[in-house]
Amino acid sequence: MKIIYHFGRYLSLLKKVFRQPEKMAVYRRQFLVEVEKLGLDSAGIVAIISVFMGAVLTIQMAFNIDSPLVPLYTIGFATRQSMVLEFAPTIISLILCGKVGSRIASEIGTMRVTEQIDALEVMGINSASFLILPKIMAAMFIFPFLIMMSMVLGVIGGWAAGTSSGLITSFGYIYGIQSFFHMYDVWYALTKTIVFAFIITSVSAYHGYHTIGGALEVGNASTSGVVYSSIAIIFSNLILTQLLLA
């Protein structure tokens, strides 16, 4: 019953979020601020994780291909497919969920307990829309770029690890990443990313927006935001994969 209660309250918050904004110019400015805070500030961690993820993938792939019947360029092909289809969109989204989701939930939660949201409401501003809409739009806009960056850096990381350790030649790896390439795989990954961006921002914002109490409750809201958006990402990943690839 509690799930139905929260889902209903989540939908009613979304309805409030997508109402007509008060002043578009202010929202546009907020959108740009959020693009920087949610997206550009996460580029560093996404880059580091992607390079190492690609490197580990390549090394594992090389050690697991022990049949002489399997050509070595398969290492490059498998690394690319893994990065594009799953590691970049899903794993990086889960990492962003921890970084961005906790930030959103604690920021909005703190605003709630320090009456800043009440101050917006008293002024006649739709606080849900003002605080949450720019975050959702910014994440849905910038996350696909982060994921594309992750795909590229993952493949580069794999190349660096594979060639420097002598597991595969540069030519073989590059031949592998060019083999059997379907643009649809990238569209599939980006579609997933946009859905995940919406989930991360809206679920975390929901938990922050309904915080009651003080510092302890803000911490709890932050944790809940990350936990529930992670679960929602995993669940929607299954559904989207079934819908888009099956």
Partner: protein, 249 residues
């Protein structure tokens, strides 16, 4: 003038306000006083529309605020200034930007005009050279004064203050009281202050409602509060050594 008529509010099974009727007059500082947990802040939040209530209505100069839709309420809300207990300044904005915020949202002023208005409001609350400071860099009294400056930025007709003196030293508390009194007269506003500070009651209480267990227990003003024979009010008023010395013999 603001009227609250027969307001009843409950949280779950607990009745917090029971059939409360109040009337706050223009150009006066109207006080809601009482012990903690008696429903003062809940009443204030019902009046400004932050809480929905089960029964009753709220009128702003005879306009039925409580029955209006969110969008219809907007025009009245822009006539309301509110000072929250902790100031409720936006952490990501500096003092100047906080004061300019309502101007940015609801006016078509240029940046220069907004800056000019923000400076007028900040100097009105005796704050200078704090424009670029963020809330975390301001003292408690300064935060309250910036919050007052923000509240008066749009020339409001109604000002609500929730415990404006809480956490302040007596001198700063007096300063805030004086400021509220002066601004009320200057802008001819209807001001409603929630407080349990007896000093404020005696300084600015032109009309006072004493709330006890969610009901209006007594109403009067600062001139007759010390002569009251209401048992609960007497216990509230004369609970400190200072006020006991003021007690009429």
């Amino acid at each position: 003038m603001i009227e609250g008529l027969n307001i009843s509010k409950r949280f779950g099974d607990r009745m917090v306000l029971e059939n409360v009727s109040v009337r706050f007059e223009q150009g006066k500082t109207n006080l809601i006083i009482g012990q903690s947990g008696m429903g003062k802040t809940v009443l204030l939040k019902c009046l400004v529309g932050l809480f929905e209530f089960e029964e009753g209505k709220v009128l702003y100069d005879e306009r039925p605020f409580s029955t209006m839709s969110f969008y219809d309420k907007k025009s009245i809300r822009q006539e309301i200034g509110m000072l929250f207990q902790g100031g409720a300044l936006f952490d990501s904005l500096n003092a100047e930007e906080n004061v300019m915020f309502p101007l940015t949202m609801f006016t078509k002023m240029t940046l220069a005009e907004k800056l000019e208005r923000a400076n007028i409001c900040l100097s009105r609350v005796n704050l200078e050279n704090v424009n670029k400071l963020f809330p975390s860099e301001l003292s408690g009294g300064m935060k309250k004064r910036v919050a007052i400056a923000r509240a008066i930025a749009l020339n409001p007709k109604y000002l609500f203050c929730d415990e404006p003196n809480s956490g302040l030293d007596p001198q700063t508390a007096n300063l805030i009281d004086e400021l509220i009194k002066e601004i009320t007269l200057e802008y001819n506003m209807t001001t409603v202050v929630v407080t349990h500070d007896m000093n404020s009651v005696l300084e600015i209480g032109q009309k006072i409602y004493f709330i006890y267990k969610g009901k209006i227990w007594w109403e009067g003003n600062r001139d007759n509060i010390l002569d009251t024979d209401n048992h609960e009010l007497k216990a509230f008023v004369f609970n400190s050594e200072l006020t006991r010395r003021l007690r009429p013999q």
